[in-house]
Symmetry: C2
Subunit: 161 residues, 2 copies
């Protein structure tokens, strides 16, 4: 499923705010998560590196939180584009930052397989967006997230930095 | 404050479960967080790497979640040692895994400074422990966490792996 070819919203984040370790295309050492529209949902895939271990055989919780976090910000950005009658790939995408991140770890997530992260907007406000997300390994949901995404305040954008 | 010399509980995690990206002393590519007792609280310090950026100038939320997560597991482990009349450094420490991780991002966390993570046990059960945590930069709390730590099930420990 990682061969999905719809455009990724992170490729449309403005250059000056495209450095996130989790999803910035300009962060060479980061994860470079790519989130795409998939009907009413959004989806992203990532295969953890060997060092992303918790105890041997399983993925560490911080990476799971990171994937849910970044994919939820992307889900909010895609939702705003759609609300405004635009599409991913048609120009710059809006940037969200995390207000709150709640992750439930339902069962251990095996390492060594591609993970699937799915998102769906639960509530959309003017500045805030609440996103639900799931993370699956081998078709089994191992974690769930509820995330508050907030439009990035101007004070965080520092063009040229 | 990172010169604090009390023993770190992660140094007493059993070898077969000391590979966590966030806090395992046997993970050469990881963060190797060190959590120590400090009166009724616990404390850990970490200076993010340059790549741990969200937008330029600030720390990405996934790292903040990771620090709160691993420090909370350590806080639970320290609490069990104390409950059992033991001390950090007196032998193997119990290992916890994350049941739920709730992080509130109160304000952007600046990058380039040492972060302080503090933990405190809110509730202690037989298998579960609820931990409250704060993350501060330059003396200002920028994130808060509420974390459910669960004693690691035997099925996750695979000695020798």
């Amino acid at each position: 499923m990682s061969t999905f070819t719809a455009p990724a919203v992170q490729d449309d984040y403005p250059d000056d705010v495209a450095h996130c370790y989790g999803c910035g295309r300009l962060n060479a050492d980061g994860i470079q998560l790519k989130s795409r529209e998939d009907g009413e949902e959004t989806v992203a895939y990532y295969t953890p590196r060997a060092e992303h271990t918790s105890v041997p055989g399983f993925v560490y919780g911080g990476l799971i939180a990171s994937l849910i976090d970044c994919h939820s910000m992307a889900t909010a950005a895609i939702a705003v584009l759609k609300r405004d009658g635009r599409r991913v790939g048609d120009g710059l995408a809006p940037r969200f930052v995390t207000g709150a991140l709640n992750v439930q770890y339902l069962k251990p997530t095996p390492i060594g397989v591609e993970l699937e992260v799915r998102g769906r907007v639960k509530e959309m406000g003017e500045r805030k967006c609440i996103v639900e997300a799931t993370l699956s390994a081998d078709g089994v949901i191992t974690a769930r997230g509820d995330v508050v995404a907030v439009r990035m305040p101007d004070s965080m954008a520092r063009p040229g930095s």
